[in-house]
């Protein structure tokens, strides 16, 4: 991941970009930059969403261990 941002930060930034673009106040050049930035943020956030940690870790008084999860229904 090129930039470490939280999902909230990314969403907020995206929201701001959308509003600025929608207001139509941005010069053409900046509009394209904003668009590129929005795409980059989107990709970042998607990567965040796809991050996966399948383990279930258990913190006991004696330290950490990993719980074997048999997918329970």
């Amino acid at each position: 991941m090129p930039e470490k941002i939280t999902f909230e930060q990314g969403m907020q930034e995206l929201e701001t970009l959308v509003h600025t673009l929608e207001s139509g106040q941005l010069p053409l050049d900046d509009s394209f930059k904003a668009y590129e930035k929005a795409i980059a943020i989107r990709d970042n956030l998607n990567a965040l969403l796809d991050e996966s940690d399948k383990r279930i870790r258990v913190l006991t008084q004696n330290g950490e261990k990993t719980l074997d999860v048999t997918e329970e229904e």
């Binding site: 959308v18 139509g24 941005l26 940690d53 279930i56 258990v58 008084q61 950490e64």
Partner: protein
């Protein structure tokens, strides 16, 4: 032969006597009794409640009349429920039945616990632990959730199942603890502390699956409240009791009614988020496209303007038409002026002509001069000198022969 020692009593007399005896006892007139409900019946026509209270060794029948139930009963009694009744004990004379006449009924232990609960609640509230301003924001997209609950409980399974359903990639850290019984409160507190020491969780879910209020009691203990308040990581409480709030619920940053509910609150659905994300991108693209369209329209409008399409005409036409207008006005103005002048000239010419002495002479008059001066009267003539008479066509010199003026 058997003889009664005294005059025998009738049954009615006996029961009446016994009832009076019991009624005279100050303790039996008003007392609290704790036991388990069995054989509970609501007598529909009358609205009276009948049941038996029992403990390990004994039982006692109870009656709660409608008028008392209306004020003294705020839950639905069930068999097996442990209750404390405020009552009087007496004899139902007709049946010779010793029974309790119940004025009010409360779930057992509730009184004590309730007082402790209220006391702790007031204390923590006064400290500001329930203050909305203290509540930390729950992260909208946690990568890892911490769970403080029993490792064998259904609550744990519910949370893991629902969390994984909503976000298959979510990290889960379990911090096991007993959730009821001796020492449960301390264990819950330590479980929260362990999750904080580990520090990887973005949000902590603390709670347990459903049960009776007494089984939830650990979550009403001060040590749990303190641990939640001290947690650096936001805490969602989920003590599986839909209706009643525990102290933990008040201190927590967010309250969920059940572990399942907590998982729903804590873990957003990845699919929904992706959809939202795409929606945003669509808006970005639309805005960009819209901006382009507006710019193109502006450009088109400008390009279509006369200045751009027919620059020469645009510059020349107005000037030409101005020139034309001006010369038209000029054309109209010049003859007008000339005519006026000419007219005036004619007038002047006529006047001049009228005043020309020559024209007078033509009409038959003559001018008489003597010594260069015009002689307007006869008396002004020197008869000894000649006079010059001017006609229109010439002049003659004349000698005066007679001056009639002199004779008058």
């Amino acid at each position: 032969m058997w003889q009664p020692t005294r005059e025998p009593l009738t049954v009615t007399e006996l029961n009446a006597y016994t009832r009076r005896l019991l009624a005279g006892d100050p303790l039996l007139r008003g007392l609290d009794v704790t036991g388990e409900i069995t054989g509970y019946k609501l007598h529909a026509p009358s609205g009276h409640h009948y049941f038996t209270l029992k403990d390990e060794n004994s039982r006692v029948p109870c009656a709660m009349y409608r008028q008392h139930a209306m004020t003294g009963l705020d839950f639905k009694p069930e068999d097996g429920m442990r209750v404390t009744v405020r009552c009087s004990a007496s004899l139902y004379e007709r049946d010779g039945k010793f029974q309790l006449y119940v004025n009010s009924m409360h779930k057992a232990g509730q009184g004590d616990l309730f007082i402790r609960f209220e006391k702790l609640k007031r204390k923590l509230m006064a400290e500001g632990l329930f203050d909305p301003a203290r509540k930390r924001e729950i992260p909208s997209m946690p990568r890892t959730i911490g769970i403080a609950t029993s490792i064998s409980g259904k609550g744990k399974d519910d949370i893991i199942r629902v969390a994984r359903q909503r976000n298959p990639g979510i990290g889960i850290i379990l911090s096991p603890c007993a959730v009821q019984g001796e020492g449960a409160a301390e264990e819950i507190a330590r479980a929260i502390e362990r999750l904080n020491a580990n520090g990887e969780s973005d949000v902590i879910l603390v709670g347990r699956g459903g049960g009776a209020m007494e089984e939830m009691w650990a979550f009403n203990e001060e040590v749990v409240a303190r641990a939640i308040a001290a947690s650096r990581i936001p805490v969602i409480s989920c003590v599986g009791h839909e209706t009643d709030f525990t102290i933990a619920d008040f201190v927590a940053d967010l309250r969920a009614p059940t572990p399942t509910g907590a998982a729903v609150l804590a873990v957003p659905e990845v699919s929904a988020l992706k959809q939202e994300l795409n929606q945003m991108l669509k808006r970005v693209a639309n805005a960009l496209e819209g901006g382009q369209r507006v710019r193109r329209l502006q450009l088109d409008r400008l390009s279509a303007s006369p200045a751009m399409t027919r620059p020469l005409q645009h510059l020349i036409e107005p000037r030409r038409s101005l020139l034309e207008r001006l010369s038209q006005r000029l054309g109209a103005a010049v003859p007008a002026i000339t005519q006026t002048r000419r007219h005036r000239l004619d007038e002047l010419t006529a006047s001049l002509r009228a005043m020309n002495p020559a024209s007078v002479l033509e009409r038959g008059y003559a001018i008489v001069r003597q010594d260069g001066a015009i002689i307007p009267r006869a008396c002004a003539v020197d008869a000894t000198k000649p006079v010059f008479v001017r006609f229109s066509d010439g002049e003659i010199t004349a000698v005066i022969t007679e001056n009639k003026q002199g004779n008058d």
